[in-house]
């Protein structure tokens, strides 16, 4: 412990030197108590200190959704901005006045004035809350960029954490932010937490953005944060961002996930975490749903009795379909009539019910049955056309697939004409 103390002093000097400010009284020696987190030994006991705040991250305001249809794009973009209001509501409901945003507030280093102004406006409107914003890998704190303007234009209840320097939150807590200066940094941005001096007994809250493991990103080694950072640096809570789904790393370390989902596969719902930090016990973390859209992905194998309507009902059970973004992939071998029926159902009905449907029928193969062709048979030479295409469709190559598609098209046109004729 003495060695640790000496180390702390040394690093305290370093902090002093680095920040150019006098270091607060850094450490108080407390008799060793191995039953408590050693941080209390080092940074003082937090007995009686409590705090409630909202932990959120990865707003990615201004995400363009360029590949979505225009109306869906507009709705998805607007929903991200609306998330600010939802978070404010959630905070008030929970009686929290602090919102910690753990990075990627904006989707890019420069999302443009509209998004920028809208974001500030909405946070200003929630003037009863303090918003602590951290630059992430999507919106690193580049000099003279977005954050410089934000610092200049932000209302007083919006605090941009642009430097690795402890920030006092009220009288009981100090926030240790780990802002990213670059998209990718090889050093651990939270390294300084360990040596960050806070008044003895004050709550130490870490705020960082990065990965504690390979989340499948292309560059897992950058912005790397040790999973035991909270323990190492005596944090009472470490609010992390980057991972878009909620994730508990340990009792003191959480990823909140994004409040408004923007992709498939990170859990269904957009959440924020309502965190209660109670002195020396583990923090109480509860999920608060705030997201509007639900991103659902399904990959279904068809079978003879496959009921698409039932499947879709199951998929969207309890959800408003207008808030659903769905990606549906169907596989299998069906009759032409079956394929057309499935596609009709999905494209002509479901696609219009949901916000945005991404449909993949590449692997749903339509094999014409005699029944399929019987209708076309009545059309004289078209029957011959159907037979020829059917023969060609047997090939496994691109030509075969094209012939299958042509056959389906013929079938569809046949059905359509039939419908027109009968109507």
């Amino acid at each position: 412990m003495f060695a640790l103390l000496a180390l702390a002093r040394k690093h305290g000097d370093a902090v002093d030197k680095r920040n150019g400010e006098p270091c607060p009284e850094t450490c108080v020696f407390v008799p060793v108590d191995f039953g408590r987190p050693w941080s209390e030994v080092f940074y003082g006991p937090r007995l009686g200190k409590t705090m409630r705040f909202i932990h959120t991250s990865d707003w990615q305001l201004g995400k363009p959704f360029g590949n979505a249809p225009p109306d869906a794009r507009a709705a998805l973009q607007e929903a991200r901005l609306d998330a600010i209001g939802s978070i404010a509501l959630a905070a008030r409901r929970d009686g929290a006045t602090i919102v910690l945003v753990a990075g990627d507030v904006f989707d890019s280093v420069e999302p443009g004035d509209r998004v920028f102004r809208q974001a500030l406006l909405r946070m200003r409107d929630a003037s009863d809350l303090s918003w602590f914003l951290l630059p992430g890998n999507h919106d690193p704190a580049r000099a003279d960029g977005l954050w410089t303007r934000l610092v200049r234009d932000a209302p007083t209840n919006v605090i941009a954490c642009l430097e690795p320097r402890p920030i006092a939150i009220g009288e009981q807590a100090w926030l240790l932010p780990a802002p990213l200066q670059f998209k990718r940094a090889l050093e651990d941005p939270t390294e300084w937490f360990t040596t960050a001096a806070t008044p003895p007994g004050a709550l130490r809250l870490g705020l960082a953005h990065g990965s504690i493991q390979d989340f499948g990103s292309r560059d897992a080694q950058s912005n790397f944060i040790p999973p035991d950072r909270a323990g190492r640096s005596g944090l009472d809570y470490l609010a992390l961002g980057d991972w878009h789904g909620r994730l508990r790393v340990d009792a003191w370390t959480y990823y909140s996930g994004t409040p408004e989902p923007d992709d498939f596969g990170n859990g269904n719902r957009g959440l924020v975490l309502s965190v209660d930090v109670h002195g020396s016990t583990v923090p109480q973390v509860s999920d608060v749903a705030v997201g509007r859209h639900v991103w659902l992905a399904a990959d279904w194998q068809t079978f003879p009795e496959f009921d698409i309507a039932a499947k879709l009902d199951g998929l969207t059970a309890g959800l408003e379909r207008s808030s659903v973004v769905a990606r549906i992939k169907l596989r299998g071998l069906v009759s032409l009539a079956g394929r057309v029926q499935l596609r009709d159902h999905l494209e002509a009905e479901f696609a219009h019910e949901v916000r945005w449907l991404q449909l993949d029928l590449k692997d749903l193969h339509g094999r014409p049955t005699d029944e399929d062709l019987s209708g076309i048979h009545a059309e004289g030479f078209l029957s011959e056309v159907a037979h020829r295409l059917s023969r060609m469709a047997a090939g496994p190559d691109a030509e075969g697939r094209r012939a299958a598609a042509a056959l389906e098209r013929l079938y569809v046109e046949h059905l359509r004409t039939q419908r027109l004729g009968s109507s």
Binding site: G66, E110, R114, D144, G380, L382, V385, R402
Partner: protein, 896 residues
């Protein structure tokens, strides 16, 4: 279908009601003259069946007789599958349609629809019915002037036809919706791509979108890069600015400046001290150098005097030694000079002798030439003598060649006259026996016995006796007088020429010619003997020779010429030897003279050396003497020692000062200070520039940032991907539709090929009779487009109009037969057809029509009464007015 009766009223030119009745099941002929309105009849039939009664389009209006506001009305009776139908239509005013059949009556739209179903045609369009909407009737009812055109069956006719053909060949017929399906597919394909694969509307638009998206994405990337670069520049500028501020506020630099200024002052003082010490040092050195120089000079002078004395002695000795050598050289030179003189004399003599010899030789040669000339002169003289002799021997008289010929001619003439006189002359023979005296004949004394030709009167006088005169005959006398006259001319000529006779003249002339030849020869010889003599300078010719030699003394010359040649060879040898000896003597003399001159020069040089050494010695001795007043050597040495000590002190002092001034280089210090000052100035300027730059960049960063370049770049990229996917999807769809349309086209083609079989079979049955052994080929749209005869194929449009028309009519017959056999309502109307047929074909076509009419009702409209005279057809009479119908029925048209 069989038309039974047609009634028309207020229809174009038929204002009055007309009625056509009595149509048979087979062949019907309506034969009327031009302008009657046959084509209007066909139009009326089409109107009642296919035009909608309620239409008011231009065509319907055209049914009205010109300038009348009446209601065109048409009624038609027909049977179909054994059932009788009556149809009436009234157009424009209170338009109505009534269809009455077995147990059926319908009006207006219902009637129209029923009619369509009954006859299988389509609803007329807004602009009226056309061949397409008329179905098979459009194909089989041929209007005037169109009989040679075999049109493409419209969709309705085609469907009917294909249905029938499919039944015929046992195929499945095309469904009712096929056409709509194909149309829809083709329309969809046309929305995406042309048959050649060129993108159209939707696909083209998607491609354009893709290109736009690419452009936008590129622009967004550029914008972002520019924004990033702007931020980078800003960062760089800020760093630079911070550095400048730090540098300007650096306290160390100010104190460095003060130190530098103090150092500069110190350096200046040290430099002054150094200059003084260096001056003193220089003075001491100069004194020391002067004194040591004096001492050295004095010692050198003494050495010089000694060495000058030695040089004088040496030079004197050398000069003395050289006298003997000079003497030898001089005597040698004298000797060689004498020898040279001797040789020169000898050479002169030899040369004189040689010249003499040469002159003598020249004289001798001249004399010999002269002697030869004299010999040639002798020859010339001799030849001249001969010439003179010849000249002298030649008669001086001259006769020319013409004169000689004239003489000869005259003589000949005289001779001829004489001969003629002698031939006729009497011969007077005188023979005297006695000696009577002298006998004279014509006064001339004649011998006693003589003969005389009497060519002239001869008077013989015998002395004494008397005279006898004999006169010649007349002719003889004349001849004789000619003789005499001629002889006189001859004589006169001879006298003139100086000859006695012609012979003389002849001989003289001959002699003269000989002499001339001789003279010629002699003159040649004379020329040869007196050639030009270049040696002596004598011109050609004997006179020149003679003149040249006239003054010469021949004797002396010949004497001289006879003397032997002078001894020139020996004289030349002597002269050459003398020359050689002279050259050698000259050489020797030159050498000895050079040696003497050399010796004399050396002598002078040695004497001068002696003199020089002596004068140098004198000068040095004088200098040495003049030093008497100067300080003594010892004094000088003492002074030098003192000066050396003073110099050493001065050097030590100077070095001391130099050491203290070291590191105080004023120039360097000043330049460093100036540099420092100007650097601060530069930094201040740069600070200002940087501040301006930062302000500009900040402004730019803010403006650009406000546009959201990063989000825009991401968005543009995502939109580009989406556009790419959309474009690919459409392309895929287009390819699918292309495959579908091409497959449809292939199948349609194949089907059409199968379908034409039955038509071909029927057509060729008829065609055989006008084009034996011809085969017909149908296109996919059921038009006969190819005729094969005798192994050769022709396009039908290349055939004659007549043949085209016949094939078109026969094809209609074939189609009508097929349709009729399958229970389709058909009939054939030919308005003014077969106009291009020749008589034989016309007859054949009529036969075929008669035959076909056993299966299909045919109505022929024609204006050619006589052509159809033998035509076995029902002739339809047209009756006008209410009481003139063929059927005798006069009911009003269209019951109101």
């Amino acid at each position: 279908m069989h038309i039974r009766r047609l009634t028309i009223e207020n229809f174009r030119k038929f204002r009055e009601r007309i009625d056509l009745a009595g149509f048979s099941d087979g062949l019907n002929l309506i034969c009327e003259g031009n302008e009657f309105g046959k084509s209007t009849l066909l139009e009326a039939m089409r109107a009642v069946l296919f035009e909608r009664h309620s239409s008011r389009n231009d065509r319907i209006r055209s049914f009205r007789p010109y300038g009348e506001e009446v209601a065109p009305s048409v009624a038609i009776d027909f049977t179909l599958n054994g059932e009788s139908w009556h149809l009436e239509k009234r157009f424009l005013q209170a338009p109505t349609a009534v269809l009455v059949g077995p147990g059926y009556r319908a009006t207006n739209e219902e009637a129209e629809d029923k009619l369509q179903t009954l006859l299988g045609f389509g609803r007329a369009g807004n602009r009226g019915a056309d061949d397409d909407s008329r179905g098979t009737f459009g194909l089989l009812w041929v209007e005037q002037g169109q009989s040679f055109v075999m049109g493409t069956p419209g969709p309705i006719a085609r469907r009917t036809l294909e249905g029938v053909l499919a039944a015929e060949i046992g195929a499945v017929t095309e469904g009712r919706q096929s056409e709509a399906i194909v149309r829809a597919i083709q329309a969809s394909f046309a929305e995406l791509m042309t048959p050649t694969g060129r993108p159209t509307r939707r696909l083209a638009e998607a491609q354009a979108n893709l290109e736009r998206a690419e452009a936008v994405a590129n622009q967004a990337l550029r914008d972002l890069a520019e924004y990033e670069s702007c931020l980078g520049q800003l960062e760089t500028a800020r760093n630079a600015y911070r550095q400048i501020v730090a540098a300007l506020s650096n306290a160390a630099e100010a104190s460095q400046l003060a130190v530098l200024n103090a150092d500069i002052e110190r350096a200046r003082a040290a430099a002054n001290s150094l200059r003084t010490a260096q001056l003193l040092c220089q003075q001491a050195t100069q004194l020391r150098e002067r004194l040591s120089g004096d001492l050295k000079r004095r010692r050198d002078l003494r050495d010089a005097v000694q060495s000058a004395e030695a040089r004088v002695a040496n030079a004197t000795a050398e000069h003395g030694g050289h006298q003997a050598l000079s003497e030898t050289a001089r005597s040698t030179e004298r000797e060689t000079a004498e020898a040279l003189e001797q040789n020169r004399r000898l050479a002169t003599e030899a040369e004189a002798n040689l010249t003499l010899c040469r002159a003598l030789l020249a004289q001798q040669r001249h004399a010999r030439a002269l002697a030869a000339a004299f010999r040639r002169l002798d020859q010339v003289d001799s030849i001249s003598g001969e010439i003179e002799a010849v000249r002298r021997g030649v008669d001086g008289r001259t006769v020319s060649e013409e004169q000689l010929l004239r003489l000869q001619h005259l003589e000949q003439e005289a001779h001829d006259a004489r001969t003629a006189a002698a031939a006729g002359a009497a011969l007077l023979a005188i023979e005297l026996e006695t000696e009577p005296g002298d006998v004279t004949v014509n006064g001339e004394l004649a011998p006693r016995s003589s003969f005389h030709e009497v060519v002239e009167t001869k008077v013989v006088n015998v002395a004494g006796i008397g005279t006898i005169t004999v006169s010649p005959a007349q002719g003889v006398a004349a001849a004789h007088s000619r003789v005499v006259a001629t002889q006189q001319i001859v004589d006169a000529m001879l006298r003139q020429l100086g000859f006695a006779s012609t012979d003389e003249a002849r001989s003289v002339t001959s002699a003269q010619r000989e002499a001339a030849k001789d003279l010629q020869l002699l003159r040649s010889r004379l020329d040869a003997a007196s050639p030009p003599d270049p040696v002596l300078g004598i011109a050609e010719g004997p006179d020149a020779l003679r003149t040249f030699l006239s003054t010469a003394d021949r004797h002396a010359i010949e004497e001289l010429a006879r003397e032997p040649d002078a001894a020139i060879g020996a004289a030349e040898q002597v002269w050459r030897d003398a020359r050689q000896a002279l050259a050698e003597a000259e050489d020797r003399h030159r050498h000895s003279m050079a040696a003497r001159q050399q010796s004399e020069l050396s002598d002078v040089r040695l004497a001068a050396a002696v003199e020089g050494a002596r004068s140098e010695l004198n000068r040095l001795a004088a200098t040495l003497t003049s030093e008497a007043d100067a300080p003594s050597d010892d004094e000088l040495i003492a002074s030098l020692a003192e000066a050396e000590t003073a110099e050493a002190r001065a050097i030590v002092d100077r070095n001391e000062v130099q050491r203290s001034a070291q590191g105080l280089d004023e120039t360097a210090l000043v330049s460093r200070r100036d540099e420092l000052v100007s650097q601060r100035e530069r930094l201040k300027t740069e600070q200002f520039d940087r501040a301006t730059e930062i302000a500009k960049l900040e402004e730019r960063a803010q403006t650009r940032g406000a546009e959201g370049p990063a989000s825009r770049a991401v968005e543009a990229d995502e939109q580009l991907q989406a556009a790419r996917v959309a474009c690919e999807q459409l392309r895929g769809e287009a390819e699918v539709l292309r495959l579908l349309t091409s497959t449809i086209a292939d199948v349609q083609q194949d089907t059409a090929r199968r379908y034409v079989g039955p038509i071909t079979k029927r057509l060729e049955k008829y065609l055989e009779r006008i084009l034996p052994a011809a085969r017909v080929g149908f296109s996919d749209d059921y038009r006969p487009h190819l005729i094969a005869r005798n192994g050769q194929e022709e396009f039908t449009e290349d055939l004659s109009k007549g043949t085209q028309e016949q094939i078109a009519v026969l094809t209609r017959l074939a189609l009508a037969e097929i349709l009729a056999e399958r229970g389709q309502p058909v009939s054939i109307v030919l308005d003014d057809a077969l106009v291009f047929a020749d008589d034989h074909r016309f007859e054949t076509m009529l036969d075929i029509l008669e035959e076909a009419a056993t299966r299909v009702q045919i109505i022929v409209l024609s204006c050619r009464t006589s052509a159809y005279g033998t035509f076995n057809a029902q002739r339809i009479q047209i009756s006008t007015g209410s009481g003139a119908t063929a059927a005798g029925e006069g009911r009003a048209l269209v019951s109101q």
